[in-house]
Structures are given as C-alpha cells and as structure tokens.
Amino acid sequence: MNPSWVTKRLAGARQAPPGNRKLSRRGFLQLTALAGGGLVVAWTSPHFLRWGMRRFVGATPSRSEPSDFIRINPDNSVQIQVNRIDFGQGALTALPMLVAEELDIDMDQVRASLAPAGEAYKDPVYGIQMTGGSSGVPNSWMQYREIGAATRTMLVAAAAAKWEVSTDSCTTSSGVVRSGPHSATYASLSADAARQPVPDKVTLRSAAQFKIIGRGQPRLDAVAASQGKKIYGMDVRLPNMKTALLIRAPRFGGRVESFDAATALKVEGVIDVFQVPTDRGGSGVAVIAEGYWPAKEARERVQITWQSGAGGTVSSEDLIESYRKAAQTPVSTALKADPSPSDGAPRNLAAQYWFPYLAHAPMEPLNATFEMTDTGAKVWYGAQFQSTDQLAIAQTLNLKPEQVSLMTLPAGGSFGRRATPTSDYLREGAAIVKVWGERLGRRADPLKMMWSREDDIKGGYYRPAHLHEVKVALDEQGQIVLWDHVIVGQSLSKGTPFESFIIKNGVDSTMIEGVVENIYALPMRLRVTHPDTPVPVLWLRSVGHTHTAYVVETLVDEIARAAAVDPVAWRLARWSKHSQPRHVAALELAVEQSGYGQALPDGHAWGVAVHESFDTVVAYIVDVSIANGRPKVHRVTAGVHANQVVNPTAAEAQIQGGALFGLAMTLPGFEITLKDGVVQQSQFTDYPPPRMADAPSVAVHFVPSAEPPTGLGEPGVPPIAPAMANALAQLTGKRLRRLPFDLS
C-alpha cells in the first residue's frame, strides 16, 4: 500500500534530527532481568489515536502487555524482534542494524526474528501492524534506534553505579561496558540495568558516528536460505496436519449449484470434500487430504456445476472500450486548471494509454496453517497485515481477536498480494477449518491451506487495469499551456477498511499518486472515474506509480523530443536545486555514471526516466536495443536519492529487483486478460515473468545523505518501463501507449 498521503501529513513524526533527544516513548519501555541471567527489553505500544485507523482495528485498543523487543541472552547475544514481515526487502536485517548501532553491539551478536501479532509491534506511525508502502525502515527509524539507545543508557548506568564511576567515564563496544580497569558484558549487567530508571533523554549517534548504519550487511538469513533451512509459511509442519485445497468458481464470486465428490473421495489419502463459503459472497469446494498431491489429484476429480455470482462477464477488450467512453465524462476532480488556454492552441497532443490487470505472482503460492486450540486459534503464515487479518480470522471463526495468535513467517515474495484489506485467503482458510470442524463434530486437525500456481494467477486481486487519456496544449514557443489528464480505473480502496483514509472527494489517492504531485509544475487538470468493474483488485508493488510514472515520463519525453530538446536538459530546465533538489541530484548522478549522450552501437538508444515514489527519487538511464521483436535492455544506471541508506547491500538489491519487476510489465504476454468473466491465464507459461536472459545489469548509485531514510522496496519499479519506452521511441519512431509492449 502507499502511505504517501499519510507520510506527508505525519512527516514531522519521523524527521526528528539525531543527537540528544527526548525519548518519545518514555514510560513505555520496561526492562526485566531474566531468572537465568540476561535481560528483556519490552515495549508497550503507545496509543496512536491521532490517526484514525484505530476505528476499524478495534474501537477500544486493548491495554496491552509489554512485548519483547530486545532480549539480551546470558551468552551476550541479543535477540531482536522485527515488527515487519521480511519477504525479501530486508527488514529482518535492517531493523536490527538500527538497534545494534545504538545499543553498541556487533552484528554477529544479533539474533533476529519476525514478531508475531501484538500491540507492541504495530507500526509507530500507522497504528496497525502491517508491512507496506516501503515504510518499514522510515517509520521505525527512530523507534528502533531509541530502544537501542535507551537500553544502552541503562546498562551504562548500571555499570557506573556498580563500579562507583561516572557514566561519562564509561564506554561501550561489542556489548561490553568499560571504565578504566573495569569491564562487564551487557548480559552480566542485566539484573542491575533492570533496576535503573528509564532515561528521560537518549543521545543518538550522528551519521558521522555510525559504525553499522550505512555499511553493507549481509542478510541475517542468508546462510539458512542457502541451505534450504529457512522456514516459510509453506514449510510449516504440525503434528497430524492435513492439507486443504479449495476449488473456486471460474468467475469471481461464483457459487456452487451442485457437486459430486464420489470419484474424488476414492483417491488414496483424501479425507473429506465439502462445500464452503468463498471470497466475494461465492462458494466453493474444499478438499482435505494427507498432503498436497492427493488433495490435487482429488480436486481434479470433483464434478461441480456452477452458478455465476457477483463477478459478471467482463471481457478485457470490452473494458477498454467502456473505459474510453468513461474517460469522456470524468466524475471527480483531483486538480483543477482553467481549460481555456487549449482553445485555439497552435499545437495539441492527445495520447491514450492502456495498462492491463496484473497478477503479483510471488514465488511462494499463498498458504496459511491453522491450528485450533483450547483457547482459540493459531495461524502461521507470511503475515503482512496482521491487525486486519487477525480481525478477519476471528470473525470467521467466531472468536475474539485476542484469541487468534498470528505467527509471522518469512514469505517467498508478496509484492502486495499478502496485504489484502479483505484478508480474502485467510477468511477462506478459516472457513474451511470451521466447516470441517462442524462436519467432524470435534475440533479440526491442524490444516495447511494451500494455493496452487493456477489458483494464484486466476485468483484475482490484480493491479487494476487503467486507461489514461491526456491532452496537452502547447503555445507557439512549445510551452505547455494545459495538461488535461483523465484516469479511469477501479478504486483499490472502495469497500475496504481503508476507504475513508484513501478516498477523498471521490478520488482514490492510490490511483493518482505519481501524477498529482505535478513535479514539472505544469498547468494541470486531473480528473478521474472509478468504474465498479467486478474484478477483485489490490495494490501491487509501487501501486499507482506502476502506471502514472509511465504516462508522465513518456509524455514529457515526447514533448521534449518534439521541441528538439534533450530530455535530460528538458527536465533539469524545469527543476531547480531549490525546488527539486533530490530529483536533480538523482538525475545528475545517473547521467554522470552512465555516460549518457555518448555514442552507442548501431541499433541502441538511450532512454531516461525519473520518478519519485515513497519519498525516494529514482532516475534510470537505460541502453536499449531490439532483439527478436523484444526490447533488450543492455545496461541500466540508477541514480537514487533515498536519504540515509541503512543497508547499502540490500538497498542496491531492492533497486535492481525493482527494475526487473517493472521491466516484467513490458514483456510480451505479461498481462491478465478476461473473457466473459473468466481469467485467460493460469501459469508462468502464459503469464511469463522475466528470466535471466531478460535481466540487464543494473548499476545503482546512491546520492549521499544523512537525512532520515525514505522507502526502498518499491521506488525502483516505476521508472524502468518509461525509460525503456523512451529509448524504443528513438529506435522505432513509435510511442508505445499500451503495456505490455507490442513491437510488431
């Protein structure tokens, strides 16, 4: 999800300077000595009532018990809880780096784990427990450092008292306090530290003092991942656990009219086959078996007659036509501008763009493992929206939220798919457990609910299809006198708990982000229509920027070229170092590092695009040719302004991976289409992600900065497709206005 509408409002909350500062969560820290030695540093989440998400998370925030954030073990290793999921973006490593920096321990002392659902682990800005909007490090930047610094302060105070020396005489390093002849490990000071008062103020390190932040650290799970020992949701195994697969209707929200499971039940290892409610008011048939294979074999043998449901009979080609019509009468206005300058303008440019539905297709298919207990339920999965999922599961199982324990496991990618405001697949999994328990007349056995790849590609919750129509009017000098922009696309937020925060004046802010900022200060009118197309939609990595960046960055390139102005020079002429210093710095860095403008081999062309998302600016300069009717990207140079980079090794990977994620959207076949309400793709064969041959070398350069960190998981995605399109236009003379690209 995109928090930009929130971060703008709450920018002050995380922009506090380093150095001596009042502890913002004073009173919420609690240190407890462990009986066998060691120390627990717990933190109680303050109640962030200033942001209204509480309203749907629960009317009365429970008075929570403090939860462990840091645990100093008797062997002086330090266990750190990470309040995010890690699905590749590197939170598992980056957040412990922040604690380690201020606590003054070495990274090899760190043991990190993903926190379960709990009050203490709610995002300190959003007030719900979630991962999204590239906000993990930005929002927890002060939180994790302050906890580390406060703990260190108390350990030093304990040592100083014990040795009868001043705290000023004490130094720390590698988890040891020293003063003159004295030294003591943190673990040995635990009992005394727990008796120290929580400090009023902590002194945070300045950027110049950083020993860990800003220096590349390998992922803390790199060794486990290389040995097949990293346990994902898919790998959870419980005693007596069964596997469930669900047969969903061919059309969204469809219902079972009747079904025959006689043949399916003959498959060895099959336990039960029964009807269950599914997402969007539909119903389906669940198959319970001893493992995936018998469940799959049985699933193929269930005979079902379907009724259509809420999903309708959408066809992609009809949708384009209906969106074109809708663009002529936009419903809501996001930016106003006087349209009269376009009357009689000497030059006009009209462009229409189409972006298809896209599936996230993370490598690990969706899954969740449920265990019913005496007191409620436990669920193990790649939890991305713990707070809303907990409510959804509790509702489905007729439990209270606090009776549902969620264990956050690492996930094999998400790209937004596990961040469903409707908790679609978790409700479905819980419904299977519930119905099965009712059929058994006892508590259901532990159950792993799995999706196949076909379930995933056909399962909806797509990046919505969008139509953009832009009319640009220019005067005699080639200056833009009106940029009249209309976007048609489904709202991501309508009907979800997020609706009241995201939709303002009829405009879903996640659809206009990336254009509404009007970074080139143009006379811009921006209007939208959100049709109620009955296809489930969801944010996909970089959200609205996946389409808005393409339109803005290709169209300004086209305008610059038409005026015979170099597109880099065109951009720099519109930005000043005062108004857009980070854009200028990122673009200039990319230009300098790429050799932009130098002669390329025949059949190659340079392309440029610059885009800010999640408070980070990414400039790509690409070297592109065409091979076998496909774009071939030879080299990408990235200039990135993400303020202080916490872990450069992971940050580089996020930009490289983001670039490839965006490049995927340009490749032939990478689109979800519907015909008569049925999704036409089902596998990696007809929805083909990039393979190694498609992957360019991406050289990533960060603008040096000591300002508080901004997002990194998503900003690498948006500018790659427009940079490629701008290069291809030089090669073919054609402007590509539809994704994926068709170079025929």
Partner: protein
C-alpha cells in the same frame, strides 16, 4: 514402498508411484528446502539433482527413482561445487525472499559440475528454467562466476 537414495541415505517411502518426488520430499520426508512454485516444471523452484543432473522434482514420479541418486538442497554441500555455490551465494548476498534460491543453487551446482568455467551465455542457458520474482539474476550470474573462480 519405494526405497530412495536421498543425499546418500537409503530412505523407505510409502507413496503412490505417480507421486512427484517434490511432494515425497516435502510432505512425506519433511525435506522442505525443495520448494513448490508451479507444479509444471516452469519455474525451477523444485530443482533437485538426479544422478548429477538438475531436474524439476514437481513432475518427476517417485516410481521412476529406483536405483537413482537424488540430491536436494539439504545435501548439496556434499559436493565441492555445491559448497562453492553456497559460499558465493552468501558472499554476494544473492537471496532476497530466498524462496527460489534452493532451486537456483541446485541448477548452478549442476552447471558447475558439468562446466567448471561457464561463460555468461552458458550461465543463462543453464539457469533459464529458474524464475526469480525478486529479480536476483544479476547477483546469481556474479555468484556463479565467483563460485567457478573459487573452484579453479
């Protein structure tokens, strides 16, 4: 009952002969390092080695495995090439989400066991069956070269 040779150990498995090796490894034996990604040999997440060849275990019936040596990610460090690949993966911090990386490591190990100093083109050819949605291909390429150098 099938007796399989997995990572050098004879292991008896009660599974229907048509069951793919992937599900025997994961569901019957608890060897969850081998991953499920697509079920149709299109993504490579389930790659294991059978008699030294990297193959997709999701379409490999267990009944065809009599007398064959299966090596999984859990046993890849038994070979010099496997250890070199794992070390290069860690040194270059290849993995992001990591889910496809068992399969990537198996394919890379298979490549280096056959072709100790592969060219970029040979790497692309050997690795083309392995999808990574995080986009780690650039580091995979570099890590394979690094592993090859360490084996020289």
């Amino acid at each position: 009952m099938n007796t399989l040779n997995i990572n050098g150990e004879p292991i008896a498995v009660a599974a229907d002969a048509s069951t793919p090796v992937l599900w025997v490894l994961r569901d019957n034996l608890g060897l969850t390092g081998t991953k499920f990604g697509c079920g149709i040999a299109a993504c490579g997440a389930c790659t294991v080695m059978v008699d030294g060849q990297a193959v997709r275990s999701c379409v490999l019936p267990v009944g065809t495995m009599a007398g064959k040596r299966i090596r999984t990610i859990e046993g890849v460090s038994a070979s010099r090439a496997g250890r070199a690949v794992q070390a290069a993966w860690i040194a270059l911090d290849v993995a992001q989400c990591g889910y496809c990386q068992s399969g990537q490591i198996m394919s890379a190990t298979g490549l280096l066991e056959q072709t100790p100093r592969p060219s970029d083109a040979q790497i692309v050819e050997a690795m083309t069956g392995n999808i990574c949605r995080c986009g780690t291909y650039q580091r995979i390429r570099a890590a394979i070269h690094r592993a090859a150098e360490s084996l020289a």
